[in-house]
Subunit: 371 residues, 2 copies
């Protein structure tokens, strides 16, 4: 067969729901020659990743590492390891990713209890309380940062109710981690997953996760095998933990390099400074968009700084504007998902894509296209 043409890419400004722009040092890390996945030098890198992830999740959890696949596999890892057929699980749904959690629960053969809120609204603690009065779930799952709507979900009050009911608290932080505070221990989170391609500004391909001692105990008391071989933590953790590492699958070495470097950059910047940067640039974007007549989907107090969902104004063609942004300005923004397809844009300000320059470029381009 004839050879495919040369790889000639790049030059985009990634302001959608992820991937975000990646720092040159992380790109360079990806190009580092490989060592073996059982090499003592690689084990050191894994240990560094675990330690820095603990810092980022603000947890002391031993079982903190990165699943060898993207964020959705991190979600699946949490559900398949914690649920067994016949278990009951409450899932809070106010967007695409809550729905995805429901699908996971059902594929585990567990009984699903849904708590629904309108898309664009947070889940109210009273709704969770009501659900907990009617069932005895093994876990309650909720999305901290709904990437499909831009809602930031308050967690502490709900966490208390979940623990009072004797259930585990499972939280999706795919879009929040690295861009706003995530306090696993303080907020009583038992299982948490994230993705690398959002506010960590690392390429997609890994899912950071962390499990409390209570969650680990639940896994250790399972009566059935985890339905996924690849994601079975009873085996995976023997590779990530302990003095003698046991081969399970071949770790994605280069992706772990990239995550290591992305985490170093985060701690060089400092968590508080980083979260402040996300808030400041969100305000800058908000002001500019509101001046142009855009309305945000979400009420101010529940808005995510890194994922800005705005209603597409009447008379503005969704696909045509996004295409011009991409082709003329090399700027990617996100389309609406699910019931918001064609109705909202999702503008990401994540990690390295969260700068004043990004905001200024996008606002100027939008003004030129929409004038």
């Amino acid at each position: 067969m004839s050879a495919a043409s040369e790889l000639s890419l790049g030059g985009r400004y990634l302001m959608g729901p992820g991937p975000s722009d990646v720092h040159p040092r992380v790109l360079k890390a990806m190009a580092t020659p490989l060592v073996g996945h059982m090499d003592p030098k690689f084990i050191e890198i894994m240990d560094g990743v675990k330690e820095m992830l603990r810092g980022l999740f603000r947890t002391k959890n031993d079982l903190t590492f990165a699943v060898s696949a993207t964020g959705s596999a991190g979600m699946e890892t949490c559900f398949v390891n914690l649920l067994e057929p016949g278990d009951e699980a409450v899932v809070c749904v106010n967007g695409v990713f809550g729905n995805r959690m429901c699908d996971n629960v059902e594929r585990c053969g567990a009984k699903l209890v849904r708590v629904d809120a309108a898309w664009g609204e947070p889940i109210e603690p009273a709704q969770v309380k009501e659900a907990l009065g009617k069932c005895k779930p093994k876990l309650v799952a909720i999305v901290h940062a709904e990437t499909s709507t831009g809602v930031l979900q308050p967690l502490e009050e709900i966490s208390g109710m979940v623990h009072d009911a004797g259930a585990l608290f499972l939280v999706d932080t795919v879009t929040s981690l690295g861009g706003t505070d995530v306090r696993v221990d303080e907020w009583g989170i038992d299982a948490v997953y994230s993705g690398t391609q959002k506010c960590l500004s690392c390429p997609p391909g890994l899912s950071p996760v962390s499990f409390s001692g209570r969650a680990v105990k639940v896994m250790e008391q399972r009566k059935t095998k985890v339905q996924s071989w690849y994601l079975d933590l009873s085996m995976v953790r023997k590779y990530w933990e302990g003095n003698k590492r046991v081969y399970h699958h071949t770790a994605p070495v280069s992706m772990i390099y990239a995550l290591y470097e992305a985490l170093r950059l985060i701690f060089e910047e400092g968590l508080d400074e980083r979260f402040g940067r996300h808030r400041r640039n969100h305000e800058l974007l908000r002001e500019g968009l509101e001046e142009m007549g855009f309305e945000f989907l979400v009420r101010p107090e529940y808005r995510l700084p890194m994922l800005n969902a705005v209603k597409i104004p009447a008379g503005v063609e969704d696909a045509a504007v996004r295409q011009q942004l991409l082709e003329r300005y090399n700027i990617e923004i996100g389309a609406g998902l699910g019931e918001f397809a064609g109705k909202v844009w999702r503008i990401g300000l994540m990690g390295c894509s969260c700068t004043e320059n990004h905001v200024n470029m996008l606002l100027a381009a939008l003004r030129q296209i929409m004038k």
Copy 2:
């Protein structure tokens, strides 16, 4: 927390069971700035990957792409999409990876029929025939290149029997693809998976797969949902196929770049030339090792060129020699797995690690250590 130390790695010669050395052009591809996973430019790269994978698998199968996780997830993808609870499956076992397949079958709730051969020996067609006389399986699974033992499994005769019995033929080509011939259409393979980090000389993180029309029909006629959300091909294929690509999960963009470049290098070299190179360097290694008194585990006619399993001579300390190779010479070779732990070494000659220089370096180092 204090920042972790700078990433300072590389310099190893990877002559174990994978990962193998990665070509500088592939490392450079990994460092390419990212575009979005729905970007038209990225869809072109995906299409190029599909086309080149078809060339490498020697197939016309539409459903040919790369699963967004390592080879073991490719294995799981095949089993969870093709099997439903209550189905029957025959698995041929002559090493670690056959056993892993059995574990997958059981996690699918399917009935397992094992065909066992001694480790280091191939499966005999007569054994498969006997098994097929006693059951009515939906599929028969076998490993083309057993990475734990170095056995190359002849497939054509067994394939005929499997099809006569009305079953699908599922083959593991993790270690063979890109290093020796894999003829999916000619050999009647219905489902096949591989890994990127062996003879493709691409970093670990993706699993190339291909499915025949018969396999796709079986998937389309399922009565139950696939137990894995992440690996459910009824959704994944809508992202990889068709005119309108539907978001499923965020593709590992940089890994796809790397695979694209690794495949380009393979077709620039040419398949026959590449397979010939693997055979020639295998012979060179064999001569050198036999001169030093090493014995191969596998009979000559069933030996893999890219994975050379040799018995550790009496009086030679397994771990101590491998440690010296790694620390003094920066050469990684593989330890024995499973029942061969401490008894064999597995020397890889895969992709970019398959050169005369690699062979010469290893032989010289072994002579110096063992003199």
